[in-house]
Symmetry: C2
Subunit: 383 residues, 2 copies
């Protein structure tokens, strides 16, 4: 069991959102804390995202509530009013401003919360919160996740802790699924914000399970300051490690996934071209199914590069493709080579590397294979 | 059995590209004919596409060879030389210029043709070609298609006939899978070209099975002129009907598909925004799996609209969503409504309509559901 960083307390509960499993977590600081967040760019962003985006604009937060199994999205004015009532209830219990409460929510779209249950829970809520562990917090935010996702790192006396959820409807776009990072480091809010955005760009913003950008993506970090100051570069390295660990956990636990698929594109014009091509590969259903079946059909990677048709500086004559450390293009694999490739693709971790031969831009993205289990999970979700 | 339009003859054969099924078709006109074509924009376009694109640039063609079960893509200079040798062989047999021969090829990527077999076939080839029917032509170009796809229409004395193949790796981008249209109409090449591009834009360029743009997409029309002139608007309507019929056949026969999914977006800023949003819906794995399972999870359509995050004029307050004739958003469906929706989604044809409430742009795209059969087909393709 892992304690939260200093200055944080948390409580988890079941309030009957969908069934009898834990479906709410509240995390609170002893006092207003530096905070940063990135959110979905979806045009159908939920009420929780709208409220959190507004409340974190001053780089300050003291508490956060995460409700799982109902996204409170496409629920209109009633859904917004319900989310505000929840933020106010948390603020009253914790003893802070409503404007210092963040709200996040994932689950089914288009349903109102069961507000009778929610109100009964808020009425009984009071500070100090019970001492929930990081494992309990990570468990409370799960929907169809198969296991809780948490990671921690130390920088001197400072702890960085993160939890995340997310298995489907995942291709974050300048944002992420739901990830909450806590640290007892003391950081200026502006520094915290810039470090956080840089780290998210190469971790949670570099993952795609199924190309479907969630309406509820939320990643926040709250710094209580209880452990004092820290060197910014060391803190960034620690946060990056925690975020990358969680990112890989999310990718590997993609709905129905059996493998972690990492795709690195090098030799690109710049990093955004590298990311675009890498995303095209990691998102290709034909690449994903080939990886699932350990089918040495490397030509599908060529196809996925080729469909970036606006990138007219990509010339097959300059491109090379490798799986693990085995180059497959332009080398012409013989049957022994194809057999070796198939054996590599049976691993739990499959890495594809492409060099475009244009410049020195590079980017790595994370995804997973596509299995019939993904279909079964998603063909019968609400019913 | 359907005869080819006047002025055309065809031959089909097995030349052992992969197995004992028919894998080649040659279609020839009695003399050089007006022709138009659109091709994949893939950066990894195959040798066949490169050659056809060059040969059709003068709006003239006399013969076409389609080889299935090997795409001849990512095969380097050897692959290009092989394709040119095939074009020359066909030209010699038909008695036309090599520059009037079109080549198309689909199947596995990254393998050379078995040229010994190909040469033996070309050596025995001579005009006139045997009288293959339209059904035989359509069958010869199949790979994992479950049935042959052909359609015809008449305009006065003029016949328009089309054949198509394609089940996976299908999201044509300014181009299409493989579709061949034959007509005995006499049309000026410029008119043929503009009519053909307009028709392709709303038919084959409006279909997506799996977001994966093929390296081999080729759609051509050849007009023998044998039936004389025709009114351009009537011809366009007939061609559009044939192309739309084939497009729906392709969508409905998508790998593993059990349903045709049509998505119409109206009320958009313009037709390109309508197409972008419609594609986002028809390509969403979560929408496709919900349609497969008849799960009334309409919120996923809201998600798919929302992820068009650069379309900042989309406001959920102005959006409405319907399945068939049942509006699901912003209406809040009760249990009876959800049950009705689920029953509708069990049909073989599912139509989703979204009004963005912005302008009067509209577009319809065609796709299919995503089933575990798609995974099984594609996890074990080459081996």
């Amino acid at each position: 069991m892992t304690a939260l960083p200093r200055g944080f307390s948390a409580l988890t509960a079941n309030i009957g959102i969908k069934d009898a499993s834990t479906d709410v977590v509240i995390i609170a600081c002893e006092q207003p804390a530096a905070a940063a967040g990135v959110f979905t760019r979806s045009r159908f962003a939920g009420a929780s995202v709208e409220i959190s985006r507004a409340h974190i604009a001053n780089s300050r937060a003291q508490a956060m509530i995460v409700i799982s199994k109902n996204a409170n999205v496409a629920t209109g004015n009633q859904g917004f009013a319900n989310a505000m009532e929840i933020a106010t209830g948390v603020a009253d219990a914790v003893g802070c401003d409503t404007g210092d409460v963040l709200v996040a929510s994932t689950g089914v779209i288009g349903r109102q919360y069961p507000m009778d249950n929610v109100r009964a829970f808020l009425d009984g809520l009071h500070a100090p919160l019970a001492g929930a562990t990081l494992e309990q917090c990570a468990t409370a935010i799960m929907t169809t996740d198969t296991h809780a996702k948490l990671a921690t790192a130390m920088v001197g006396a400072v702890t960085v802790a993160g939890i995340a959820k997310g298995v489907g409807m995942i291709e974050p776009d300048m944002a992420t699924l739901i990830a909450v990072f806590m640290t007892d480091a003391a950081l200026h809010p502006d520094d915290l914000d810039s470090v956080f955005r840089r780290v998210m760009a190469t971790t949670f913003n570099a993952v795609s399970i199924d190309t479907d950008t969630s309406t509820s993506d939320t990643a926040v970090i709250i710094a209580s300051g209880s452990a004092g100051p820290v060197a910014a570069d060391e803190f960034e390295a620690a946060l990056s490690g925690v975020a990358l660990t969680l990112t890989k956990m999310v990718a590997r636990d993609g709905e129905g996934a059996t493998k972690l698929l990492s795709v690195t594109v090098t030799g690109a014009r710049n990093s955004s071209q590298a990311k675009r091509v890498a995303k095209s590969i990691v998102n290709s259903p034909l690449v994903k199914t080939a990886v699932h079946g350990a089918d040495p059909n490397w030509g599908r990677v060529a196809m996925a590069i080729g469909k970036c048709s606006d990138d007219t500086d990509i010339d097959p004559a300059n491109v090379s493709i490798a799986f693990g450390d085995q180059r497959v293009f332009p080398d012409q694999l013989d049957l022994a080579g194809l057999d070796k490739l198939s054996r590599y693709m049976q691993h739990d971790d499959v890495t594809i590397t492409c060099n475009l031969g244009i410049g020195d831009g590079a980017f790595t993205v994370y995804g997973c294979d596509l299995s019939d289990q993904y279909i079964r999970i998603n063909a019968d979700y609400t019913t």
